[in-house]
C-alpha cells in the first residue's frame, strides 16, 4: 500500500507540474512545446494514475499507511517527482536543441524556480557552478 501510494503521488505530481508550469511560464519544466499536448499529458497522467490506484485493489480497507507516514511519503514523492520532471525536461530540451530547434536560453534571473523560466534545471545548476568558479558563460 505504501509503495502504491508513493507511485500515485509521484505520477500525479508530474501531471500537476506539467499543467501548472504552463501558466507560470516555467519552460524548464516542459516536456512538450505545444501547450495543448502538455495539458493533455498532465491530465492523462493524473487521471490514469488515480484510475490505476482505485481499480487495481480495494482501497477502502483497514491499512497501515497512517497520517504521518502519508505525509512523509507525499513530501518525498513530490520532491522526487519535481527533480525527475526537471531532469527529464532538461534532457528533452537538450536533445531538441541538438536538432537545430530553438533552445531555451537566457540569463539566470534569480535563484530558484524563477530560473526555470529561461533555462532548464541542469542549465541553471551549471550556470550557478560556473559563476561560482568564475567561468564566463
Amino acid at each position: 500500500m505504501a509503495l502504491d501510494y508513493f507511485v500515485l503521488v509521484f505520477i500525479a505530481a508530474i501531471g500537476v507540474y506539467q499543467i501548472a508550469s504552463i501558466p507560470a511560464g516555467l519552460r524548464g519544466l516542459w516536456f512538450f512545446r505545444q501547450h495543448k499536448v502538455q495539458y493533455f499529458f498532465g491530465i492523462l497522467a493524473i487521471l490514469g494514475v488515480f484510475g490505476w490506484f482505485y481499480t487495481s485493489e480495494e482501497r477502502n480497507i483497514q491499512h497501515t499507511v497512517e497520517g504521518a507516514q502519508q505525509l512523509w511519503l507525499f513530501l518525498g514523492a513530490i520532491v522526487f517527482a519535481y527533480f525527475i520532471n526537471a531532469i527529464l525536461a532538461s534532457v528533452i530540451q537538450a536533445a531538441v536543441s541538438k536538432r537545430g530547434d530553438s533552445p531555451i536560453r537566457g540569463k539566470q534571473q534569480d535563484r530558484g524556480m524563477e530560473t526555470l523560466k529561461t533555462m532548464t534545471l541542469l542549465d541553471g545548476i551549471l550556470s550557478s557552478w560556473r559563476k561560482k568558479k568564475g567561468i564566463e558563460d
Binding site: A20, P23, A24, F50, V65, G67, G112, L116, G124, I125
Partner: protein, 203 residues
C-alpha cells in the same frame, strides 16, 4: 452518546438504497483520494503563478496551511486522550449501532481510532482555511472538496455530526491562528525557509 446522534441514524438509513451513490460516497470517503487531491491543488498553487512576488505569497500561504495541518493534528491527538464517545457502530444503542455498522461495512470499513474529533474534517478544513486567506477561488474549491469528504464520512456512518463539526472548528480556528497570528510573528523564519527552497530550486 453525543448530541445529535439521531442524525447518524437518519443519514445511514440511505445506505443500500442506491448502490451507485454508495459507490461514489465510498470513493469520496476514502483515506487517500481527498487528501491527495487537496495536496495536489496546493502543489499546483506552489508553482502555478507567473509573478515571482505573488508566487512567493502563495508559497507562504501553503506553508501556513501545512503548519496548520500539523498543529491541528496535534490538537486532535491531544483530545483523543479523553475518548469522549465510541464510533457510531460501537455505541450501546442497538438501532444506531446496527444502522452505522451496515453503512460503514457497505461504504467504507470499520476504523479503530477515536471518533471525536474527526481527523479528516480537521486537516481538510485547516488546509482550505490556510489557502483561503491568500487565494479565495482555490480556498473555495478546497472548502468544497473538504465538505464532500466530511459529508461522505458522515454518510458512511463512521462519525457523528458532532465529531465532524468539532473537526471543522478545530481546523478553521487553528489555521486562522497560525496564518494570522503565529506565522507572521515568526518572521523572518518563513522567509528563510522560502530562500532555502529557492536555493534548492524548489521555490
Amino acid at each position: 452518546m453525543p448530541p445529535l446522534s439521531g442524525w447518524t441514524l437518519w443519514i445511514t438509513g440511505f445506505v443500500g438504497k442506491a448502490p451507485a451513490l454508495d459507490h461514489v460516497m465510498g470513493f469520496l470517503a476514502n483515506d487517500f483520494f481527498v487528501p491527495v487531491a487537496i495536496a495536489l491543488i496546493m502543489l499546483g498553487l506552489w508553482i502555478g503563478h507567473p509573478d515571482l512576488t505573488r508566487r512567493g505569497q502563495l508559497q507562504k500561504a501553503i506553508m501556513n496551511a501545512s503548519v496548520a495541518i500539523g498543529i491541528s493534528t496535534l490538537v486532535v491527538r491531544t483530545l483523543n486522550v479523553f475518548d469522549f464517545w465510541p464510533r457510531p457502530f460501537l455505541v450501546d444503542d442497538i438501532v444506531i449501532r446496527e444502522s452505522a455498522t451496515y453503512a460503514a461495512q457497505t461504504v467504507f470499513y470499520l476504523p479503530h481510532d477515536p471518533s471525536f474529533p474527526s481527523n479528516a474534517a480537521t486537516i481538510s478544513f485547516a488546509a482550505a482555511t490556510g489557502i483561503w486567506f491568500s487565494h479565495r477561488t482555490a480556498g473555495a474549491v478546497l472548502y468544497f472538496i473538504a465538505f464532500l469528504w466530511v459529508f461522505a464520512r458522515f454518510y458512511a456512518g463512521i462519525h457523528f455530526a458532532v465529531d465532524l463539526a468539532g473537526g471543522v472548528m478545530i481546523g478553521i480556528v487553528t489555521s486562522t491562528m497560525i496564518s494570522k497570528v503565529f506565522m507572521p510573528r515568526t518572521e523572518p523564519v518563513p522567509t528563510w525557509a522560502l530562500k532555502l527552497g529557492r536555493f534548492l530550486y524548489l521555490a
